[in-house]
């Protein structure tokens, strides 16, 4: 029988994974302590309120926000437009949302989780490429609010008789503007 040479009092090799686990634990604890001291861990807006869209047909877009836990969007800050402007959008079908009493703005309605909005197109042609322009604004329960986010999703409308297009994620947001 052959054993790896060890000196009296040294630890056998199989203790290495334990040491690695201990070091990993120290790294995790230290980073958690440092991060906690620095404030809440918060996502950038485009990750907290993930936007995607698809075209159901040449007359209707379906817009989705996947709002992360701990974040919410304001219903009355959602705006939809389309490029080219000649295509035009009709009134979007906004889901009801949750009422909330804001001490400054009064009654506001907020959205959490999955938000699906149908946006009708006024004058698009099948197969046309359009760009959906979405304005949104939201906050985190942790106590911060994000400026208005302007995002774009470019979609190819389906041909006549074809089914809905697959969902497309929004391109990174442009610089938000303040009204």
């Amino acid at each position: 029988m052959r054993f790896p040479p060890t000196s009296p009092g040294s630890t056998p090799r199989r203790a290495r994974p334990d040491a690695l686990a201990a070091w990993a634990g120290i790294v995790l604890v230290a980073s958690a302590l440092a991060a906690d001291a620095a404030g809440p861990k918060l996502l950038p807006a485009e990750q907290a309120f993930r936007l995607s869209a698809r075209a159901l047909d040449a007359k209707m877009l379906e817009v989705r926000f996947n709002v992360e836990d701990g974040y919410y969007l304001y219903r009355d800050k959602l705006r939809f437009a389309v490029e080219p402007a000649s295509v035009g959008v009709g009134a979007p079908a906004l889901p009801p949302g949750k009422p909330h009493e804001d001490e400054f703005f009064g009654k506001v309605t907020t959205y959490r989780g999955l938000v699906v909005v149908k946006v009708p197109l006024a004058a698009a042609t099948p197969g046309q490429e359009v760009t959906l322009v979405v304005d949104s604004q939201g906050c985190a329960d942790a106590g911060v609010c994000y400026p208005p986010q302007l995002q774009r999703v470019t979609l190819a409308l389906p041909a006549a008789g074809a089914g809905p297009t697959p969902a497309t994620e929004a391109t990174p947001p442009r610089k938000p503007f303040f009204n």
Binding site: V27, S31, E103, F104, C139, V144, P147, F178
Partner: protein
Amino acid sequence: MTPARRTLLIGVGAAAALVAGLWVGQSPYFGPPATGLPATALLGVSLPDPDGTEQSLAQWKGKVLVVNFWATWCAPCREEMPMFMRFQQERGAQGVQFVGIAVDSVDKVRPFAQDLKLNYPTLIGGFGAMELSKTYGNAIMALPFTVIVDRQGHVAHTQLGPLKEAQLDAILRQLSS
């Protein structure tokens, strides 16, 4: 390997792991990297007040300066302002100066500041103000974001999200002494 060398290796490894962990936790994504650095860019800023007069932050150099990025559309920002006003009232004589930078339009800020009877100056910043806050650690560009500058013009503290009263009290006491 001798037991002594093994102990040394474990110690060095643990220390390296600790430093690595702290570095990760303090990265811009998680925390403020600006603390301790001179607040040169911030003190060099010049922005209009609600009456349209350009105001330079440099005029408050030597004060314990609490620069609060806020907006009327930000509920948590509005909620902490009465507390800031109390601190301004009580600590102004000791050289504490609050200055707001509103990432907002003047026609929203002016009536709001008037209704609140705001007792410290607030300036009107646009998107550039958000970019400025980003350089001081506001990686996600959310509000409120507060930078506290000591009398020597160095960043003493940055805060993304509301400041707790006890924490603000402790920081201001330390910097004003």
